[in-house]
Symmetry: C2
């Protein structure tokens, strides 16, 4: 648990009653892992109108869902490994991530808040050339390290109108607000849970605003969300 | 472990040295669960030429990969729940499933056999109407119970030329051979593991032969593969 600049460690997972171990560390001295080990990451495509337009896509009638494998998840400060032998265009996509806290299915939108544990930042890293080639998104978005999530989970937050900013080497590239989501968070929880059971630690990525673009090896990419914090990762060559 | 008509229970998972508990039961008296809890199920589209043709698709240049969530996995004898309020056309797709036995990435095709634990039968259940509508396959193939796998894992088998038969209420609907795979099993392991790390228990579904078609509530669907056994599931209404 993070309070100010101090981390207090807890025993086990955070989804029920929290037990502190009594150990405390300065935040600056610890390496943060991804704040959950999701059984699945469900992501939403084209959920900001301006982003759908910039890639030449229509806004879909219903939420467009796809999956990223759990093996793509890394944490704050971890490297994004650019698969240079397989792709020539790897993009950042800053997103608000919803972390599920309860086993649930068929959750009505008005009860979505009961199953949400909290919120964090995510980068839905995408090999844009492979996404165009395959049509199915799985390969393009499924490489190891292509789902940085963190730095931690904010559990006490109204996420309906937060500023989201993505920077590359400190330059602002994406700047949106979660109030621009075409399908809002309760609608997404209802839609996804009507298809598949959600498990504590599962993550829903809510889509990316306009401004997506390429990352190069050596770049430092940050996704910052108001009220949560900033997720920063450096791009390295995998090969 | 199954030998003839007798099941011997083992302690823990089967991926390393097996420890028998000493308990034995007649096969006919036990309910078989899915033989693994996969962290991910990677499936291959259009990997038999005749099946690609029957749905009006070209054979892709490279393997077409997509994912089914772990929450869609059920075992032999479990019900397939037809989501009648969301789909009007749910199809069976009988497939050979490859079960991974070792943590691995970037496995060369010639070493694929070293990371394969065994083989089993699977039904890649698909809401065909939603697949057409969404383009992305995730929703159509991701409903709870849409990935029956079993009845067990056959660990001692040459899977390169096995007969695969799918029946609905005893009538043969699909009849293929794994020798017809466009991308063979070693090629699939190499291709998938070049993108994402595979974990013991992960499953690769190798694609379905021609003959896919709809299931109705009350139908009993069986996928039988030579040298493995038969996976049988009944279709019930979810709603």
């Amino acid at each position: 648990m993070v309070e100010g600049d101090v981390i207090s460690t807890i025993a086990g997972h955070p989804f029920n009653q929290i037990q502190f171990t009594g150990e405390r560390y300065p935040l600056a001295e610890v390496r943060l892992l991804a704040p959950m080990l999701p059984s699945k990451v469900i992501a939403i495509g084209r959920n900001y109108a301006e982003h759908a337009k910039e890639l030449g896509n229509e806004v879909p009638e219903e939420p467009l869902i796809f999956m990223k494998p759990s093996t793509s998840v890394v944490g704050h400060g971890d490297a994004i490994a650019y698969p240079t032998s397989q792709s020539e265009r790897v993009d950042f996509e800053g997103e608000l991530a919803v972390v599920i806290g309860r086993l649930c299915r068929e959750v009505p939108a008005e009860r979505a808040k009961d199953v949400i544990f909290g919120y964090t930042c995510a980068n839905d890293v995408t090999a844009r050339d492979l996404q165009k080639k395959d049509v199915q998104f799985t390969r393009a978005k499924g490489f190891d390290t292509f789902c940085p999530i963190g730095p931690w989970i904010e559990t006490d937050l109204d996420a309906s109108d937060l500023a989201l900013t993505t920077t590359v080497n400190g330059e602002i590239r994406q700047s949106g607000r979660t109030s621009q989501l075409i399908n809002d968070i309760p609608a997404l929880v209802a839609y996804v849970s009507a298809v598949m059971t959600l498990i504590p630690g599962d993550v829903i990525l809510t889509g990316t605003p306009a401004g997506v673009g390429p990352m190069e090896i050596g770049d430092e990419v940050s996704v910052g969300i108001e009220g949560i914090g900033t997720l920063t990762n450096k791009v390295v060559s995998r090969d």
